[in-house]
């Protein structure tokens, strides 16, 4: 089922660039779902504080008798390497509106020890205002104010080595309106310390060893361009994944629900939404809907159809025809990962 179905539609996950409606017709907005999954190398290594213990064994013959003994034992304690990754789950500019928009991020502890991270978010003056930056408790990419709260003291809880959490930046358009493009900047920094790679924080590591700043500088920054209120029509595309085990893991046979929302500031005629089925997925028959109403897959008298052989491969098209000023229409369809 759609991830959007069970929650208020006011908080919509935006995962793709806004686009003038004409460009929907010619360019493939779709990115394969797997390509959008943040690929973070999680080679975390030996945990901080682990003792590395070495003893050599010796054998020799003295006076014709075999003897054996051992060397001294030497121990070193593995230091804590401070590293972090922060990745936006999506790409392109985000259009902010009067309704709050949630922009999702994934924070990963690349440290070889348990670490918390200081979070900060800001928006340059312009079209948008930051409401809050929260931890997305259930990781569904949707803002649930009852559960998704700002981190205590601006810090995440301690994350285990390699552990990831989801964050959501909640933005709204500037009330008085502004034509200036704004930029959202989100940073995460290791609480223990950050800075130049190789910087040492003595005895600050897990297990009593030193903490050392790793290749990431223990600081990660992501910038997201925020669009102004556009004069023309806008298409926002988002997606949610549901695997057979109920998780949101993009695995084989997981079903991706794509949501395409077309917003029209002015009345137009002949509007048409077209979207190719991403590579590596197959269209789920009978899953196409327009504003919640099912559309048949065939080329018949309803507005939508699934075409297995368009110029860009298989795709769906929905003819909206004449649309009113200030309206929006939402097309959904499902695809299964192969």
């Amino acid at each position: 089922m759609s991830q959007h179905g069970g929650k208020s539609g006011r908080f919509r996950r935006v995962a793709a660039a806004p686009c003038l409606l004409t460009c929907i017709l010619s360019t493939g907005l779709s990115q394969p779902a797997l390509a959008q999954t943040p690929a973070v190398a999680t080679s975390i290594g030996t945990p901080a504080g682990t003792p590395i213990v070495n003893t050599a064994g010796l054998r020799y013959d003295a006076d014709g008798t075999a003897q054996s003994t051992s060397s001294n034992t030497v121990t070193i304690i593995v230091a804590e390497r401070l590293d972090v990754a922060l990745v936006r789950d999506g790409r392109g500019a985000v259009v902010v509106t009067a309704q709050p928009v949630a922009i999702p991020f994934t924070l990963t502890n690349l440290d070889n020890g348990a670490e918390s991270f200081v979070l900060a978010a800001s928006v340059s003056p312009g079209a948008a205002v930051l409401r809050t930056l929260v931890i997305d408790t259930d990781g569904d990419g949707l803002y649930d104010p009852a559960k998704d709260v700002a981190p205590v003291g601006g810090k995440t809880p301690l994350l285990a080595p390699g552990q990831s959490i989801k964050l959501l930046a909640i933005l709204v358009a500037t009330p008085e309106g502004s034509a200036t493009n704004a930029v959202l900047t989100v940073t995460a920094r290791s609480t223990t310390g950050s800075g130049a790679t190789g910087n040492v924080y003595p005895s600050a590591g897990d297990g009593g060893g030193d903490a050392v700043v790793g290749p990431t500088g223990a600081l990660a920054t992501v910038s997201v361009p925020l669009g102004t209120a556009l004069a023309g029509p806008v298409l926002l595309k988002s997606q949610s994944v549901r695997a057979a085990d109920g998780s949101q893991t993009a695995v084989r046979d997981a079903v991706i629900t794509y949501t395409l929302e077309a917003r029209f500031t002015d009345a137009v005629t002949g509007a048409r939404i077209a979207d190719p089925i991403p590579l590596g997925t197959v269209f789920v028959p009978g899953s196409l809907t327009l504003d919640g109403a099912p559309l048949s897959d065939g080329a018949d008298d309803d507005a939508g159809r699934f075409d297995p052989s368009t110029a860009q491969g298989a795709g769906v098209t929905v003819a909206l025809g004449r649309v009113a000023a200030g309206s929006s229409h939402t097309v959904q369809f499902k695809a299964k990962i192969q």
Partner: protein, 157 residues
Amino acid sequence: MITRPMTAAVLVATAAAASAAAGPLQVSSSILVEARSAAPDGTTRVTLVKPTKVTPGDKVIFVLAYRNSGAQPLANVVLDNPLPRQIAYRSANPGSPAPDVSVDGKTYGSLATLRVRSPDGSTRAASPNDVTSVRWRLASPLAAGSQGQFAFQAVLK
């Protein structure tokens, strides 16, 4: 206040361990890292120093320094060093004889001669990551008072 007596106890234990190794053949094991410094002639000098901050992926050098402190020569000297589990073997350190290596703790040889058995019964050539133990044999007896050292490079997993 518990800390001080405990520290003392650890020091005593360390001293006891060192004396346990007393005998005609003395071997000192150490784990070191490379420190690079600019030499006066403009080259970079690499020295081995005690590590203060080893993190995963760092290169470490295991050094075994041996000495016959007795009055008689010692024959058939063998030093073997099972690798700590968190350590991946890389190569002999420059200047050190290459050790025989083992991927199972039983069969020793050069890496190129060793194979690793997979769960499905097939075998493949061994790689440095498969090495679990290294070993050196002295080809000739170690004379009284003589000494030497072996060293290999490894990486913290």
